[in-house]
Amino acid sequence: MRRLGLRRLGQYVLVFGVAVTLNFLLPRIMPGNPLALIAGVDVGLMTPDERAELIEQVGLNRPLIVQYFEYWKSILTGDFGFSYRSSRPISEIIAERLPWTLLITGAALVVSAVVGIIVGAFSAWRRGKKSDLTLLTGMISLESLPSFWLGMLLISIFSVQLGWLPSFGAVTPASDLTGWAQVGDVVEHAVLPTVTLTVLSIPGVYLTMRYAMLEVLGEDFIRTARAKGASERRVLFGHVARNAMAPVVTFLAIRFAFSFGGAVIIETVFSYPGLGRLIFEAVSGRDYPVMQAAFLVITIAVLVANLFADIIYPILDPRSQEE
């Protein structure tokens, strides 16, 4: 177990290393002016002096290997660089954006977990019956739903046609709301992006829960419980659902990480000022350093979520420790 843990950890370090290396290499090997790709500026608009100064600043005149170590050094000291386009340190921009993404992905995670687990358990219990098959087909169809399209439809229906909810941003601009009114404003803005993310997450949770339940239903201790005369309800919730939780929680942790990436699209549709929208803005504005930093932060979030799943699994399913 200890060895397994160390191997896992080594793997995450490797992933982080690959992400950092990709960030370093991509702008340097891709077609185009590396200075423009690294600093994210219009090189053509600069005087030769300015250009020379910038090359010195980003270190492009030093040997590649030195640049590589310099890059690692800055990342490990938490220095994500400087956005030349908006003239601000990138860590400041990210600190501003991260909470919004955490808010909608977190809320979506909780709702989709509750719905997915309940519906998945129900479906497994009705295995092979009409209700199970209908749910299963419905969930497979949901998986093919393009996320941005769902977001656009929700805006068209709930913001434009019905006028119930705002379609844009995370707060009402230039409103001096305080206290509960402010909280209400934030919630109102978060509803549609959260619903979109939730709808996208539910099929995965459902399928994992249903499959895990079916696995457990075939185990000996379920037969023992039934033989003891435990009621069907007690068997289902006390024994089956409880033992099916381990893979579901693991899935949720990984799904949370995935939502972080999926937020790129959903935050773009709703102009929601999170990390994902930041990547989109950086890509369309050719602000490459910001794009890279956001990519790294999302990678770190993914690794933390995976680590969490690794830690929680043996606690939920003690049998896995025996390996």
């Binding site: 793997q11 490797l14 992933v15 690959v18 497979i140 169809s141 393009p146 399209w149 805006i155 379609s167």
Partner: protein
């Protein structure tokens, strides 16, 4: 597990198989219709989708079934021609993924010790890396073209198939006929080509069909973010323009936003249903 399976009456089992088959058949019909639409696009579409054939922002009429867009192109014709881009990218990107995934999977499964360990490490890294952001970063650096979209999607989705195929090969390599051919001095290449590859074909096809379904969604997402081919309009890029022209804030959403999304959904779902039916054959879960 076996006890549970024995207790299932055969009549119920037969009905279950037919449910998966029915879903697969539905998927097949959807896919065939879409392929027909893509192949005969010039005959089906009333206009050239790149021509300005009417006044901009027209609602649906007899002349323009789905109205016109912001520069006066016919939206229905764009929709018909969009199937070409979406299907091409989906299928070719999935082929790229299949090629890489099968090679890695077979090698990692057949040589599980050193080579396999290294390959599977790579697979794990690719699987953990945040997929969509990486896709966007790569697309942003590579530039916008159909080939780049295909390559970027292909090199990011091969890891899942590789893992599935590896586990199959791992069990195949210790079968008697493989051992026999090894004992008789046949080279590994022969055992792989003759015994291993043919038996992974069904599984590989299943993962390929599923990859097409995923690749279609990814192409749509990339195009929607404005990172698709600027010349060849796909369903995703119709939605990109609908978004940037604010079509979803006007009644135009019903003919400009709704139809391309339905097409993406149908295309992705068609392949997903076929994949589901195939997976159900290989490993029943219903």
């Amino acid at each position: 597990m076996s006890a549970a399976e024995q207790s299932i009456p055969t009549t119920r089992r037969r009905r279950r198989v037919s449910v998966a088959d029915r879903l697969g058949l539905t998927g097949l019909i959807i896919v065939v219709l879409l392929v027909v639409m893509a192949v005969f696009a010039p005959w089906i579409a009333p206009y050239d989708p790149t021509e300005r054939v009417g006044t901009p922002f027209q609602p649906p009429s007899a002349a323009h079934w789905l109205g016109t867009n912001d520069v006066g192109q016919d939206l229905f014709s764009e929709l018909v021609f969009g199937s070409r881009v979406s299907l091409t990218v989906g299928v070719v990107a999935a082929l790229v993924a299949l090629l890489i995934g099968t090679s890695v999977g077979v090698l990692a499964g057949y040589y599980p010790k050193r080579l396999g360990a290294i390959l599977m490490r790579t697979v794990d890294v690719v699987l953990i890396l945040p997929f969509l952001p990486l896709l966007i970063v790569l697309a942003a650096y590579l530039g916008r073209s159909l080939i780049n979209t295909i390559v970027v999607i292909g090199v990011l989705i091969w890891a899942g198939p590789a893992r599935i195929i590896r586990s199959q090969v791992l069990s195949l390599r210790s079968r008697e006929y493989v051992l026999a051919s090894q004992t008789m001095g046949a080279p590994d290449r022969w055992a792989i080509m003759r015994h291993v590859l043919p038996r992974t074909a069904l599984l590989a096809t299943g993962t390929f069909v599923r990859a097409v379904s995923g690749a279609i969604l990814l192409e749509a997402a990339l195009s929607f973010l404005g990172l698709g081919d600027p010349i060849q309009k796909s369903w995703g890029s119709i939605l990109f323009w609908a978004q940037s022209r604010g079509a979803f804030l006007t009644p135009a959403w019903k003919w400009w936003v709704l139809p391309p999304g339905i097409m993406i959904l149908l295309a992705s779902l068609g392949f997903a249903l076929i994949a589901f039916a195939m997976e159900e054959r290989i490993n029943p879960r219903l």
